[in-house]
Point group: C2
Chain length 196, copies 2
Amino acid sequence: MAIRTHIGISMDGFVATPAGIPAWDAIPTFGPGTHGYDELMAETGAIVMGRSSFDQGFRDWLAGGWPWPDKQVYVLTSSPLPDDVPARVFASKGGPEGLVEQIRAARMERDVQVLGGPRTIRAFMAIGALDRLEMVILPVLLGTGIPLFDIKPVAYSAEAFAAWQRSSGSIDARQFNLERQRVYPDGSIEVVYRPA
Amino acid sequence: MAIRTHIGISMDGFVATPAGIPAWDAIPTFGPGTHGYDELMAETGAIVMGRSSFDQGFRDWLAGGWPWPDKQVYVLTSSPLPDDVPARVFASKGGPEGLVEQIRAARMERDVQVLGGPRTIRAFMAIGALDRLEMVILPVLLGTGIPLFDIKPVAYSAEAFAAWQRSSGSIDARQFNLERQRVYPDGSIEVVYRPA
């Protein structure tokens, strides 16, 4: 059992528009099962999502036919779920670490997909619980939106450069290993990383 | 003659640290000629850089042996260059559009590399003058630094989602074509895009 995410990301790092619409929707070639989704669905037995993602989708999913009838769904949340959630939908107990315990206790044979949003993906990365970071880099620039990573962009400053020259000169970076990659016909590139 | 950039970028979109140190320096496998640089140097007859990049490097380049003895170097700037620049180093005349005119007038056989920084690369993209955007995605997260693209990250908000639901629902995205890609042994991935 591996805990994985599989997320479409624009060339400039956004997984969703400012309104929360997935970056996938910016390319006309995305649809049910494309870009590795059929494989992902076959390989995963459970879904993890954050409370914002759940609240955004829940009523539509109920109305349109529950998308994961054969999977367990775990919601990372600190407040109770609505009374009408389907069977096999569970609230987390005790934050990300507690949720990982729940998942491991369920002894799933298939993998677990961390659906999102980005905060939930980052919460799993932060505790070392994300085994595979799968990004499909979409051939678009969005300019604005919700980034996957918790980034702090800055402008170049000659003062910062001068300070660095006087410093030890090391760069603080988190290393990853590239496990595999593939290209889709529309120019999207799937890259799969493991934490180093 | 194609106008190209070839830039190392972290998984989270930074081409340099906050001090302006290239993201390349975050991976131990980067060195002279690696990651496509030998090919790039053979294929290009001129270099374009912005004034900040020039000012950051100029004295070191002079002291250490001019890195581009066989190439023309164009600096995008609105103020005069120092008197002791080597021959074949030119200041731009008239901003990015003027610089593109100068480059075309020089009738170069080989390609032109837009070295950076990001503002200069974006200035060329903005006027449609960048024929090839070549990024080498390095398997590291930096968290902070100077991004390649002019990005405006936002947090998810239920209000923005509600507003979008009431709207026309289109997504504003700039499309690109993936021309080629390749993987280096250290897990860096080179992706080459053309504007669509």
